[in-house]
Symmetry: C2
Subunit: 246 residues, 2 copies
C-alpha cells in the first residue's frame, strides 16, 4: 500500500489511516464483524495492509471516536452495540442542511429576512470588536421534506463579507455564502438550551411549542469569529446525540 496511495477526486492525498478506517468501516457495515466480535489484532492489520502499527492505531482511533468500536488494553478491539443509531453527532460540526440530510430527509430553506443592521452589544462581544459595526442578519425557517423543523437567526460580521453584497441575493446555505467569501467555519462553540415562547419563530405554530436551542459561535481556522447563530429546533423532529467519554 506504500506506493499506490490513493488520491481523492480533487487530487489531494488521502491519509493512509483514513483509507484504512474507511475500509474497516465498510467491512463493519457489511457485517463482516457482528456486534461484540473481535477485530484482527493491530499487528495483524498492520502486516495485512502493509502499514505500520501506528497507522493502524490511528485508524482504529477514528472508529472508536465515532463509537463503532472499543479497544481494551491487553485484550483487543471489539464492535460496539451502539455504533449505529447515532444520526447527528453533535460534536461534529455540520451545516443544518447536512443535519437534515443525515436524518434521511430533503432539506430546504425559507428566508424571512436578510438585512444589514448595527450589531447588538451581544454580537459585538461575540465578534470581539469595539465600537459600532454592521452585521448581516438572516432569519430563516429550516425545512425537512417541506415541513418546518427549525427557526434560525444568524448574523455575520459585515466587514468579513464582500463589499457591495446584495442581501436580496442571499439564499441557500450560509456555509456556502461564507465559503464563497473565502471563510471556512472550522470550529464552533455551541451552548444548548431548552426554550419556549411566542417570540420564537413565525407563522403557524402551537403557542406552547418547546424548542431545543443551539446557540453557536463559529470560528475559522485562525480562531476568528465568523458567524453567530441561534437555531431553535422544534422538539422531537431530530435526534441529537453525543458520545460522551472519560
Amino acid at each position: 500500500m506504500k506506493d499506490d496511495r490513493s488520491t481523492s477526486p480533487l487530487g489531494t492525498r488521502v491519509q493512509l489511516r483514513v483509507q484504512l478506517a474507511d475500509d474497516l468501516r465498510a467491512r463493519l457495515q457489511e457485517g463482516e464483524w457482528p456486534v461484540g466480535a473481535q477485530l484482527p489484532t493491530e499487528g495483524e492489520l498492520a502486516s495485512r495492509y502493509g502499514v505500520s502499527r501506528s497507522t493502524v492505531r490511528g485508524a482504529l482511533q477514528q472508529l472508536e471516536i465515532h463509537g463503532l468500536t472499543v479497544t481494551r488494553h491487553g485484550v483487543g478491539t471489539f464492535v460496539t452495540p451502539f455504533g449505529r443509531g447515532i444520526k447527528a453527532g453533535l460534536q461534529e460540526l455540520q451545516s443544518i442542511t447536512d443535519t437534515v440530510a443525515a436524518h434521511g430527509m430533503e432539506p430546504g430553506m425559507q428566508y424571512r429576512s436578510v438585512e444589514f443592521r448595527e450589531a447588538s452589544q451581544d454580537e459585538l462581544d461575540a465578534f470581539a470588536v469595539e465600537g459600532p459595526s454592521r452585521v448581516l442578519a438572516v432569519e430563516r425557517a429550516v425545512l425537512a421534506d417541506g415541513v418546518v423543523v427549525a427557526f434560525s437567526y444568524d448574523t455575520i460580521p459585515a466587514w468579513r463579507l464582500p463589499t457591495g453584497l446584495d442581501p436580496a441575493a442571499v439564499k441557500g446555505s450560509l456555509f456556502h455564502l461564507l465559503e464563497s467569501a473565502g471563510i471556512v467555519s472550522k470550529t464552533a462553540v455551541a451552548d444548548i438550551h431548552a426554550a419556549r415562547g411566542a417570540h420564537i419563530g413565525w407563522g403557524e405554530r402551537p403557542p406552547d411549542q418547546v424548542y431545543l436551542l443551539l446557540e453557536q459561535t463559529h470560528y475559522d481556522a485562525s480562531a476568528q469569529p465568523v458567524l453567530r447563530s441561534r437555531t431553535y429546533f422544534i422538539e422531537g423532529r431530530f435526534q441529537f446525540s453525543i458520545l460522551r467519554t472519560r
Copy 2:
C-alpha cells in the same frame, strides 16, 4: 525528563504527553501566552522538554481538543479566544455531582425513591436482554448550593449489582455505587431533548417549567450497558457547551 517520569499519588505512571499538556495548560492559564499568541514551535518544545516531537504533538492535540489552542498547518499553534468559558463540556462524561462542582457550586442529592422493579420494555431494549428482568430504579433531585437544579430517573440492571443489596442503603453518587460493584461507566450515548410537563419532577415547581433532558445509556469498558438515566435539568441553571469541529 526521560528518567524522572512522575507518578501520580496512586503510583500509576503519568503519560509524558499528559504531563506536558498539564504544564502547558498551567502556563496558559497563568497568562504566559495571551489570547492570539503563538506557542513555541513543536521542535522547540521537544528539545526544551527533552521529549520527541510526537510526544509534543500528543500534548498539543489535547489542548486543541479542549479548545484552548488551534494549530495551523505551516504556521504554528495559537491561543484561542474561546478556551476559557466552557464550563461543562458535554462530550466529557462526568457525574452530575462533578457537573455541579464544575459550575462552582456545592452538589447535593435528595433521594425520593429507590426500589427494585420489573424492567420496562424500553429498558429491556437498552440493556439488550430478553425476557423479564429486574432493575434498580432510583429517583432523585439534584441540588446545587441547596437548590434543586435537576430531577433524575435512573435504572441499573439488578443482575449486575451485588445480590442482597439493600435499596434503603443507596445514597450519594450512583457512579460510586457502580464502582463499588466493580463497574466503571466509560462511555455514554446521550440524546438531548427539550421537555415540559407536569409529569416531570415533584415538589414545588412552576407549572410550565422547561427542562433540558439528557437521556443517557452508559456502557462499561466492554461496551456492556450498565446504567440508563433520564435527567431533567431546569433550564438556565447550567451551561451545557459542546465544542464542535469538522
